[in-house]
């Protein structure tokens, strides 16, 4: 396996060759031979990642499995149609994202909290500043519209580039920047530590 310092790697090539190439091989086996073992491996590669992401989208716990399985139903049936224009991970996560939006619509959930921010729900009596910040952040994340929240999660939790987030969310790169910009502003309003660190761009 070649030695590669990450500073020399084109970040747009991430996920790195091992992961993407290996997963493409799995997909090829599924497309060509309906290979169950390859399908199971690919499923395992994404199950946990998608479970967390969907939970963060406020998809109901009982719907998460359905969304993941609907996603992999598409992977199983459309494996031969994947042309490789994008990375496999952005294709799969993108399918899950759109399925999750459907699930949220079906459940008539409101991922955007319209009610006023409940400051009393934050336990300021906590002696641990970190813990308090964590509570503020959780509250702040819940206030974000699902599109902004996903842009933030895909960037910070899964470590995707701006272009990859745009591919997953199926929107222009500038839209991703705008969503994240707004998410950052909202979080600053609820996380006191952030508000104290920086102001708006002028």
């Amino acid at each position: 396996m070649p030695l590669q310092s990450v500073e020399n790697v084109n970040p747009r090539a991430i996920p790195p060759p091992h992961t993407d190439a290996t997963e493409r091989e799995l997909l090829e086996r599924i497309a060509r031979a309906k290979d169950q073992a390859a399908f199971r491996t690919l499923y395992g590669n994404y199950y946990q990642r998608l479970s967390r992401l969907l939970a963060r989208m406020s998809v109901r716990r009982e719907d998460i499995e359905e969304v993941i399985n609907d996603t992999f139903w598409v992977v199983w049936t459309k494996a031969g149609e994947f042309r490789g224009a994008s990375q496999l991970s952005t294709w799969i996560i993108g399918i899950a994202y759109r399925r999750a939006l459907n699930a949220l619509r079906r459940a008539k959930l409101r991922p955007v909290a319209d009610e006023p921010f409940d400051e009393d729900s934050i336990s300021v009596a906590s002696t641990e500043e970190e813990e308090t910040n964590q509570q503020w952040l959780s509250q702040g994340l819940e206030r974000l519209p699902v599109e902004q929240r996903m842009a933030l999660e895909l960037t910070y939790t899964l470590g995707h580039s701006c272009e990859e987030v745009a591919a997953i969310l199926d929107c222009p790169v500038n839209t991703v920047k705008t969503r994240l910009f707004r998410a950052r502003e909202t979080l600053k309003q609820v996380l006191p530590q952030l508000a104290g660190m920086s102001g708006d761009p002028s």
């Binding site: 396996m1 790697v9 395992g44 952040l137 994340l141 960037t155 920047k177 910009f181 660190m197 002028s202």
Partner: protein, 225 residues
């Protein structure tokens, strides 16, 4: 690099990807230069790094799906696929009429086999965990991939303090590694090789040798099995 849009607003918009290490190479230089000269952007960068670390902390605190849940979910999906494919294939009954096959005995047998394999796996897991020495007490391990964790080659790895989350992700995935434990008291993590990496010839020794040469890695050693 044909364009150097050294404007505050554009740099500001790209700060999340400077924070996660995934900013496009053609943007990195001018954004970094701007940040160096702009106190407001430096503060915002620090603030975004804080958000990233909070989001990830929150992430690690969320409940982890366990292996049995994953297997159960997959079993359901596979049963659905089998039912669908059985339904679309004509049944060769004496009537000559194509009939959809309900939850076939094949599915039931497959599920039964999966349960047996799972039980054996859990048994082995129990024995393995029971044999671990007390030094493993401060190590948390995921349970999402039972195949990988039983016998997978593993390395102990520590990163330089300034290493970004994106860099850590890149380093690990390049080598087919997943973190399954840590950090220990010395800041080191336990990372295991994926079955695919092993199949492609990677070993704990080879991966540790590669990683130890990376400037972002302060320590990388194979863990004896």
């Amino acid at each position: 690099m044909s364009r150097i849009p050294d404007t505050h607003a554009e740099a500001w918009a790209l700060l999340p990807w400077l924070a996660n290490g995934r900013i496009a190479p053609e943007d990195r230089e001018w954004v970094e230069a701007h940040v160096q000269a702009c106190a407001e952007c430096r503060a915002e960068l620090a603030s975004q790094r804080l958000v990233a670390s909070h989001v990830n902390r929150d992430e690690s605190a969320s409940p982890q799906p366990v292996a049995s849940e994953e297997q159960r979910s997959f079993n359901k999906l596979w049963a659905r696929i089998e039912a669908s494919e059985s339904a679309s294939a004509p049944a060769t009954g004496t009537t000559g009429v194509a009939v959809p096959v309900p939850r076939s005995s094949r599915t039931v047998r497959w599920l039964a086999a999966a349960v047996v394999v799972q039980a054996i796996g859990l048994g082995i897991l129990g024995v393995t965990l029971g044999n671990q020495d007390t030094g493993a007490n401060d190590v948390f391990e995921t349970v999402s991939n039972p195949e990988a964790r039983l016998n997978a080659p593993a390395v102990s790895i520590a990163f330089a303090p300034q290493t970004s989350m994106g860099t850590v992700n890149t380093l690990l995935t390049h080598q087919g590694l997943s973190i399954v434990g840590g950090p220990g008291s010395a800041g080191n993590y336990r990372a295991q090789l994926s079955p695919d990496a092993v199949a492609s010839g990677a070993t704990a020794d080879s991966v540790a040798a590669v990683l130890s040469k990376d400037p972002n890695v302060t320590f990388a050693q194979p863990i004896a099995r």
